[in-house]
C-alpha cells in the first residue's frame, strides 16, 4: 500500500505539500485553525497512515503526531459541547487514550481518521454529560447484516468520498454550514436549534436536508450513498 493519495486536500494544497515527509516537525504550526489554511497537517491520508501505524505496531511517534494534531481539536470540541476547561481536558485525554487503545480496530474503509476520532470523542461526551446510553450496532453480532460491498472497493470509495466531502462542506451556503455546526457542536436537538434561531422547525429540517443532499450528491460518484 505505497500509493500516496491525498485525501481532503485541494489540489493547490497537494502541491504545497509535495516533498513533505511525515516526520516533519510541526510544533510551531499550532496557530488558529482556518478551513482554507495550508497547514501541512490536515492531510487526511497522512492521518490515516499514522493511525494505521499506531494500530499495527504501537508506533509512539506516529501517535505523538496524531496527538499534536487532534488533541487541541478534541479539547475544543469538548469545551464547546458542555464541558468546562478541566472537564474538556479530561475528556480529551480519555479520547486520545482510547485512540491509542482502539487503533487496531480502525478500519480505513469506514472513513477518515478524523471521522473515527470524532466518533470516539462524541461517545465519551455522551457518557460524561448525558444521563443516557448511546445505543450502537455491533458488527460481531450474528444478527448483523454485513456490508454488501467488498472491503477493498469500499476503502477506495471512502478515500474518494473523504475528499469529495471536504470540498462539498466548504462549498455549502453559510446558513446550511452553520446549522450543521450547531447540530454537531452544541449538542442541541433540531427543535432546540429552531427555537434558538427563531426559525420554524420545518425550516431547520429542510435546510439540514438540503445540506445533506448536497453532501450526498457530491459523494454519489464514490458509491451508493443514496
Amino acid at each position: 500500500m505505497n500509493t500516496v493519495v491525498s485525501i481532503g486536500v485541494p489540489a493547490w494544497q497537494k502541491r504545497f505539500k509535495t516533498g513533505h515527509s511525515r516526520s516533519v516537525q510541526w510544533h510551531g504550526d499550532l496557530g488558529t485553525a482556518d478551513m482554507n489554511r495550508p497547514t501541512g497537517v490536515d492531510d487526511g491520508s497522512d492521518m490515516r497512515e499514522l493511525l494505521r501505524a499506531v494500530g499495527a505496531r504501537r508506533d509512539i511517534e506516529a501517535y505523538e503526531q496524531l496527538f499534536r494534531h487532534f488533541a487541541p481539536r478534541v479539547k475544543a470540541y469538548m469545551a464547546r459541547t458542555g464541558g468546562n476547561g478541566q472537564q474538556a481536558e479530561e475528556l480529551m485525554q480519555e479520547t486520545m487514550i482510547a485512540v491509542w487503545n482502539k487503533a487496531e480496530r480502525y478500519d480505513p474503509a469506514k472513513g477518515a481518521a478524523s471521522t473515527w476520532i470524532f466518533a470516539i470523542a462524541r461517545n465519551l461526551r455522551i457518557d460524561a454529560f448525558r444521563r443516557e446510553r448511546r445505543p450502537e450496532f455491533d458488527p460481531d453480532d450474528p444478527a448483523f447484516v454485513p456490508d454488501d460491498v467488498a472491503a477493498a472497493d469500499a476503502e477506495l470509495d471512502m478515500r474518494e468520498a473523504s475528499e469529495q466531502l471536504h470540498h462539498a462542506i466548504a462549498a455549502l451556503p453559510a446558513e446550511q454550514a452553520s446549522l450543521l455546526k450547531l447540530s454537531f457542536f452544541e449538542d442541541q436537538s433540531h427543535s432546540a436549534i429552531a427555537q434558538r434561531l427563531n426559525l420554524p422547525l420545518g425550516t431547520v429540517k429542510s435546510r439540514m436536508r438540503l445540506a445533506f443532499d448536497k453532501l450526498r450528491a457530491a459523494l454519489a460518484r464514490s458509491g451508493d450513498v443514496s
Binding site: 487541541p72 479539547k75 485525554q93 487514550i97 472513513g111 471521522t115 460491498v149 447540530s183
Partner: protein, 217 residues
C-alpha cells in the same frame, strides 16, 4: 430481503452528531444493524463530524497534556481480552435492541396488551420517548393508540401494511402526528416491531388530566 423504508436525514444526522435521544437512537441503531445502505449514509454523516472537528479552534498549549497522556499510556495495564460470545443468531433480534429487551425472539417476557397483542416496555435514560416491543397477531390490526408527535416503527419479524405501503423486517416507518393510519399485520405470521413515540405529556392534576382530551394535548 430488501429494506425499502429507511432512516430519514434528520434522524441520521442527529444520531451522528450525538444529539438524538436514546429512545429514537435504539430504533436508528437497530435499523443500521440490518441495513448496509444506511450505514454508508451514516459514514457520510459522521464524516461531517470529522471534517468539522478539523476546523475546531486549536489551543496551542498541549505540551503538558502530551506529557500527562504519554505517562498514562506507559502505566497502562494490558487491556483485558474482550468478552467473547453473544447469544444472537442470524435472523434473530439484532443488537443493540437484544440487550435492551434481555433476550432473543424465543425467550422474551411478553405482557398482554389485549386483543391478542403483547408488549415489552423498554427503559431508557431519556425523558423524551416511550419505547416498547410490540407483537401483533397475524392478520390483526395494531391496537388503537394515539400519539401527539412522532412515531418510529421498526419491523423485526413478520410484516404489516397500512395505507402507505408494506413494512417487513428492517423497514422503518417514520410517522408524524399528521399521519392517520391503521397498520394491519399480514396473515402469514405475528408481526414483531419496535415502537418509539414521544412520551405523552403527563399531568399530576386530575383536573388537567380530565380536560386533556378537550385541550388536544
Amino acid at each position: 430481503m430488501t429494506i425499502s423504508h429507511h432512516i430519514s436525514d434528520d434522524l441520521l444526522l442527529s444520531y451522528a452528531a450525538g444529539s438524538l435521544a436514546e429512545g429514537w437512537s435504539i430504533a436508528v441503531a437497530t435499523h443500521l444493524a440490518l441495513c448496509p445502505g444506511c450505514r454508508r449514509r451514516l459514514m457520510v454523516a459522521e464524516g461531517v463530524g470529522g471534517e468539522l472537528l478539523e476546523t475546531m479552534d486549536e489551543d496551542a498549549s498541549i505540551e503538558q497534556s502530551w506529557a500527562s497522556v504519554r505517562g498514562r499510556l506507559q502505566q497502562q495495564e494490558p487491556g483485558a481480552p474482550a468478552v467473547a460470545g453473544t447469544s444472537g443468531r442470524s435472523g434473530g433480534l439484532p443488537e443493540p435492541l437484544r440487550s435492551y429487551v434481555g433476550g432473543d425472539f424465543d425467550n422474551l417476557k411478553w405482557r398482554p396488551l389485549g386483543r391478542g397483542a403483547y408488549q415489552i416496555p423498554i427503559k431508557t435514560g431519556d425523558r423524551e420517548t416511550m419505547v416498547r416491543l410490540l407483537r401483533i397477531p397475524a392478520g390483526k390490526p395494531v391496537p388503537e393508540h394515539s400519539h401527539g408527535g412522532r412515531e418510529l416503527t421498526l419491523v423485526l419479524a413478520g410484516s404489516f401494511h397500512d395505507g402507505t405501503g408494506l413494512f417487513a423486517r428492517g423497514d422503518l416507518e417514520d410517522a408524524d402526528a399528521s399521519l392517520t393510519h391503521q397498520p394491519v399485520a399480514t396473515p402469514e405470521a405475528d408481526c414483531i416491531c419496535l415502537a418509539v413515540t414521544d412520551a405523552p405529556l403527563k399531568f399530576r392534576s386530575w383536573i388537567v388530566r380530565a380536560i386533556q382530551p378537550l385541550l388536544g394535548i
